[in-house]
């Protein structure tokens, strides 16, 4: 193995337009580990995953995947890197015009010249791993939210990627589906020997199975550590997040002039 850290983010800055979303972020994702990125909604977690996937270019700093600087790659190079990645999108992003089976088969058909019989076996195997082999004929619209996410997961691991990125895998799921997904992530990580990057704001789940956690707030890494270290952390921000307090370092209110001023001087 070449690098210990399969993904590294160094002094990364990124923003849409003039607004800087990330200021000087550094993170490392060691091989074979489950690393979680946590933070409030809209703090740019999904954007970090998109930066790793090379869909957007950083304003400063760099992301390296497998020793290669992502934004310096040409199209071919980025595509080669992406073939090592699997991504589970927040809402599954299943292709609505394809059946469950075809969705999972899609990356295989596009990237390999495997005969159809072998693709069939592989797809059923992947679907079996997420417990949905019986649903292979259904269309994405016929699936519940949890099922759709499991199908998307099967699709993300179709080509046995080295890196699996999960964008909010637990959001909007009932506790049972959540436990199922949680279990799956851990098993997949260990069975495939893959590296997992999980974006979430679900404290309990993340603390239960992540090896290492980064807290992002205000565009930079506010805290990092293993779940054990973090739960003992005295940092006010972490405390607020972990215990779900309404107000604290992360304000409840969006930036605004004083309430009084707004009420009396509204034009």
């Amino acid at each position: 193995m070449a690098q210990k850290n399969i993904v590294e983010i160094k002094n990364l800055s990124f923003g849409y337009g003039n607004f800087m979303l990330h200021k000087d972020i550094s993170m490392v994702f060691p091989r074979g580990k489950v690393t979680a990125i946590m933070g409030g909604s809209g703090c740019g977690k999904t954007t970090i995953l998109r930066l790793i996937g090379g869909q957007i270019k950083p304003k400063a700093g760099q992301v390296t995947v497998d020793g290669k600087i992502v934004h310096k790659q040409d199209r071919q190079g980025i595509y080669e890197l992406r073939r090592k990645m699997g991504m589970l999108f927040q809402h599954g992003a299943l292709f609505t015009d394809l059946s469950v089976f075809d969705n999972v088969a899609f990356p295989m058909r596009e990237h390999t010249k495997l005969p159809e019989s072998m693709i069939r076996d592989l797809v059923l195997m992947k679907l079996n791993a997420v417990g949905l082999r019986g649903a292979h004929k259904l269309m994405p619209t016929e699936l519940s939210g949890g099922m759709a996410r499991r199908v998307a997961l099967a699709r993300a691991i179709a080509l046995d990627p080295d890196i699996i990125m999960y964008d909010e895998p637990f959001a909007g799921l009932d506790p049972i589906s959540m436990a199922v997904i949680c279990d799956l992530i851990r098993t997949l990580n260990d069975a495939l020997g893959a590296t997992s990057i999980i974006v979430t704001h679900d404290v309990e789940e993340a603390f239960s199975f992540a090896d290492y956690i980064y807290f992002v707030a205000d565009g930079s890494v506010a805290a990092e550590g293993t779940p054990k270290e973090l739960s003992k952390s005295k940092l006010p921000f972490v405390h607020q997040f972990v215990h779900g307090e309404k107000d604290g370092p992360v304000p409840f209110h969006h930036n605004a002039p004083s309430y009084k001023k707004d009420i009396y001087e509204w034009v």
Binding site: R82, F89, F95
Partner: protein
């Protein structure tokens, strides 16, 4: 700010954003062409889209063409009979259809029927991150999604326009010969003598090909560029119809003046 400055900056803003959009649409067009080999190498992708753009538009095209042809026949008859040349009704119907109405009305119907469907589909695919997902799988959405739809549109349009013209002529025949009583032989022979294959039929085909390129790329661009929200997609769909229609009419004027000049 001074209201005049406000108006000026508004105009400037509008113009730059239009030009910017034109530029990025052109860029998408070029990329589509570059990735075209994919949609021909895997022809079933394109065939599938021909089904959705072409075959699904057949009914509206045939029905509209039939009525347009019949109306042309009636209107032509009322005018021509005053000059005692109601046999020329066939010529009038055929020329109007081949030169203008066939390509133009087909393109307008295409924009409304197939163009909006393309925009909404691509816009929704973008809003539900399907395009992003494809990119993350190292598959270019332009090669896999945009290009087959483009070629399907470009292939369908001249076919639809030909069907439109032919069905329209049949509609005109139905009004002229059995209903009004124009002589069957005179109807066809007059048409045959006065309609020129190269000037009328081929030029009509060229027009509909150009309209096909324009309408399809506009529909694709609007979808691809739509803000990934429900509102964004619905606005993009509206814009597809408006932009396509205006573009078709403008292009028609330019093409006609070129074709007439030589």
């Amino acid at each position: 700010m001074n209201p005049i400055f406000k108006i000026l900056s508004n105009i400037g803003n509008q113009v730059t954003s239009r030009i910017w959009r034109l530029g990025s649409a052109t860029r998408l067009f070029c990329l589509t062409l570059i990735y075209s080999s994919e949609s021909f190498r895997r022809i079933h992708l394109t065939i599938r889209e021909i089904y959705f753009t072409g075959v699904m538009s057949l009914i509206i095209i045939v029905v509209s063409a039939f009525f347009v042809g019949m109306v042309l026949g009636l209107q032509g008859y009322y005018t021509l009979q005053k000059y005692g040349s109601s046999e020329s009704i066939g010529v009038l119907v055929a020329l109007a259809l081949l030169r203008e109405l066939g390509p133009v009305v087909t393109a307008l119907l295409f924009a409304g029927r197939a163009g909006t469907a393309i925009t909404a589909e691509i816009g929704l695919m973008k809003a539900t991150e399907q395009l992003s997902a494809m990119e993350m799988m190292a598959i270019s959405p332009i090669a896999r999604i945009i290009s087959p739809r483009f070629w399907a549109g470009v292939i369908s349009m001249p076919i639809l326009a030909s069907i439109f013209s032919m069905v329209g002529v049949m509609g005109g025949y139905l009004v002229a010969v059995p209903i009004i009583g124009v002589d069957h032989g005179a109807f066809w022979s007059q048409m045959n003598v006065n309609v020129d294959f190269r000037i009328d039929v081929i030029n009509g085909l060229i027009k509909s090909f150009v309209f096909g390129v324009a309408c399809t790329i506009i529909a694709l661009y609007e979808g691809y560029d739509a803000p990934p929200t429900a509102e964004g997609v619905s606005r993009a769909t509206t814009r597809t119809v408006v932009t396509s229609s205006l573009t078709v009419l403008g292009l028609d004027f330019i093409l006609t003046s070129f074709m007439m000049s030589n």
